[in-house]
């Protein structure tokens, strides 16, 4: 921790504020992921940590190492750009997967049941056989997890 003494006070206060706000936003995202009720509400909570937490902590890290080394150190921008690009993709794919699973659960053909476990085949709507790779009928009261 010897390197911390060499920073000027304004930089220390700025870095401390950035780090604390970023960590608090990430903690709020964690609280949201526990407290919110529905899955589609919960999908919005961790984006606080993805955008705000990552941006502020990366900004603080860049500022600190640039002042310590006396030159510009911007390779934390790589992480920032990567997170900014990939987090919409991951959350979009998760949301679409959840939408599809919800629709399949509503139609009653959510899982591919092995043939020996298969319940007697129920009449299926046409859309079901078009979307499912192997239309297998699960009993409607089967817990969909």
């Amino acid at each position: 921790m010897r390197h911390l003494e060499t920073l000027p006070p304004w930089a220390a206060i700025l870095i401390a504020v950035f780090v604390m706000i970023g960590a608090t936003m990430t903690l709020l995202g964690g609280l949201g992921i526990v407290r919110l009720k529905g899955y589609y509400q919960r999908l919005h909570a961790p984006t606080l940590g993805y955008s705000g937490g990552t941006g502020l902590i990366i900004l603080a890290s860049m500022l600190m190492f640039s002042l310590l080394e006396g030159r510009w150190i911007v390779h934390e921008l790589m992480i920032g750009t990567f997170i900014m690009i990939t987090s919409p993709i991951t959350l979009l794919m998760l949301g679409r997967a959840a939408l599809r699973r919800d629709r399949d659960a509503k139609l009653g053909h959510d899982e591919i049941v092995p043939p020996m476990l298969r319940a007697p085949v129920m009449p299926q709507p046409d859309e079901a056989s078009a979307t499912a790779p192997a239309p297998a009928a699960a009993p409607p009261d089967r817990p969909h997890r």
Binding site: I13, A16, A23, V34, Y39, R42, I73, F82
Partner: protein
């Protein structure tokens, strides 16, 4: 003086990030359905990456940055393949 401010801020940030990690882990273990677990796992990856960055700032060590980068890349690949598995039932078709 500045070292005390920074030490307090980094300790607070580490505690907050570990708490966020624990909450996401609770959602991953407890989640009622599979997509909740995947969401919790993705949040845990991001929180662990931020924790690595904060620990690297506390140590004055640049090498934690590379670990954070690897964690970010692995988190992206894991979540995308898990979401694809949830959607299609297989990863590579």
């Amino acid at each position: 003086m500045s070292a005390d401010i920074l030490r307090f801020a980094l300790a607070y940030a580490q505690i907050a990030l570990i708490l966020a990690l624990a909450l996401a882990c609770w959602r991953m273990l407890r989640g009622p359905r599979a997509q909740d677990r995947v969401l919790g796992l993705d949040t845990m990856y991001i929180n662990a990456m931020l924790l690595f960055l904060v620990i690297g700032m506390g140590n004055g060590n640049v090498f934690f940055f590379e670990g954070a980068l690897v964690i970010a890349v692995l988190g992206f690949v894991t979540t995308v393949s898990a979401a694809k598995f949830l959607m299609r039932g297989e990863v590579i078709e």
